[in-house]
Symmetry: C2
Amino acid sequence: MPSPLLVVGSLAFDTLETPAGHAENELGGSATYFSHTAAWLSSKVRMVGVVGKDFPRRHIVEFADRGIDVGGIRVVASGKTFRWHGRYQKDLTDAETVSLELNVFGKYAPKIPRAFQKSPFVFLANGSPVTQRTVLDQVDKPKFVLADTMNFWIETEHAALMALIQRIDGLILNHAELLQLSGQQNVVAGARWALAQGPRIVVVKKGEHGAMLFTEGDFFALPAYPLEHIVDPTGAGDSFAGGFMGHLARTGSTSFDEMKRALAYGTILASFAVEDFGLRRLFNLTSEEIDRRVAEFARMVSVDLAEEPAGR
Amino acid sequence: MPSPLLVVGSLAFDTLETPAGHAENELGGSATYFSHTAAWLSSKVRMVGVVGKDFPRRHIVEFADRGIDVGGIRVVASGKTFRWHGRYQKDLTDAETVSLELNVFGKYAPKIPRAFQKSPFVFLANGSPVTQRTVLDQVDKPKFVLADTMNFWIETEHAALMALIQRIDGLILNHAELLQLSGQQNVVAGARWALAQGPRIVVVKKGEHGAMLFTEGDFFALPAYPLEHIVDPTGAGDSFAGGFMGHLARTGSTSFDEMKRALAYGTILASFAVEDFGLRRLFNLTSEEIDRRVAEFARMVSVDLAEEPAGR
């Protein structure tokens, strides 16, 4: 039976320049990518965020049509929605920020609606760890809280981030950020360090190199789904998190076996997200396409090593 | 039944500086790493290379004791063995070459002993593609030839390398080199390009990010074995190739299922190689340790996705 899954993060309009083309005022934001991927797996996704008066009401209707509970989206009539303009180079790694307007997201203090406070699964999308903490203070004994972060907060809000990490169940971040946060040179050492701070699990996102899952006693890793053409990497990390948490929420379980499957669903949902600008591919997806790609991916990563002795 | 496996490459003395320490005049070289890893899996490894008068005879005896056929190691009494001094920075990626003396390896023209000419499996270690071609000209209808290369040859011997690639069954190279060789920005596109030049398979080495195997119709990928402490990454690629080809040679098969297993053995043998300087760990290894790590790795990469429907 699916468990409610709460996400708190941004809703945005992105202008995107990639080697594949250009898109203006594309619907984006961490909470948007997360909830739209999670909603492919789980029927009880709850979204908390803020938009301005320029945010078309039809988007919120569309979110609701996809089964997302939009009761936590606040509309600030006096302000504008968060806007980001990013430009990717040929290798599609880091985006250069051409312009950034935080607008209503700048001073946003998330308020979790009473009906959302009992959400067993919670995703704290990338944001100030101070703000992330205020969300934790408002939720009622969640079963599993996953938090994302980034280099900016590691540098500017280190103490608040360290305090937050002690209170969460899972930390998700990219490879370079884990090394930066931990001060380690090696991802395994970095993950050990992070686990020692409190979380039960650490998920390391490595883009085209896949993802890793660390717990105190277990390790699991997957390559990325191989894509020849990537149109827009924006939102890949939040889509990954959406697939991961969407799977856990639909099973209601945080067993290591389900977390392994969740890592695969994160991989697959992220692979769809990057096939077109913004959320376009996530809107044009079908359950059958997801099933087909998951089955294909399962074959791509399976190897039978049981019967092979190493001896000469 | 194991099939003979021929390797042609370098034997060297390496001086190694890594964050973990320092080692002088350590036994090294591509053919050395390759044959010592392959010999853990297959009993018919044949080594072709050249050394100088400074190369202690006891090493050659040790190689033979490990079941390696040393009948192709030429000793040039008038010269010195290839020497390399490398220094790694903290992140253990590229080594800075402090000094390089090609010595007898500089003008080496490999001569394949008559007894080695019928070797079904052949590994052309990194070297000039012109020299690699002369080896191909001397072997008698091998079943499967794998060739390694590097940025230096891509830049300086491009035409010869392209001619070589048309004649081999498998190309193995690292991620950056595949992008450089193919002129592509994406590893999947790069592998497609490489397959179109002739080889049946392309193996992409990505160090800590694992490895990928491409054929015309299939794809397989594995993460690296997670190591917290890496002492010396020298020889990791040749050890990977040794595990890969050692497994194929012992099974005598080049089916896609065996290539998948071979990729896992390459991963595991490389993971041992980097745990100590030079070949020390490969000398101190046991078959039981290999079996144990392979079994552990099998658990680390296995996920059951068969029973999961994506539908909401």
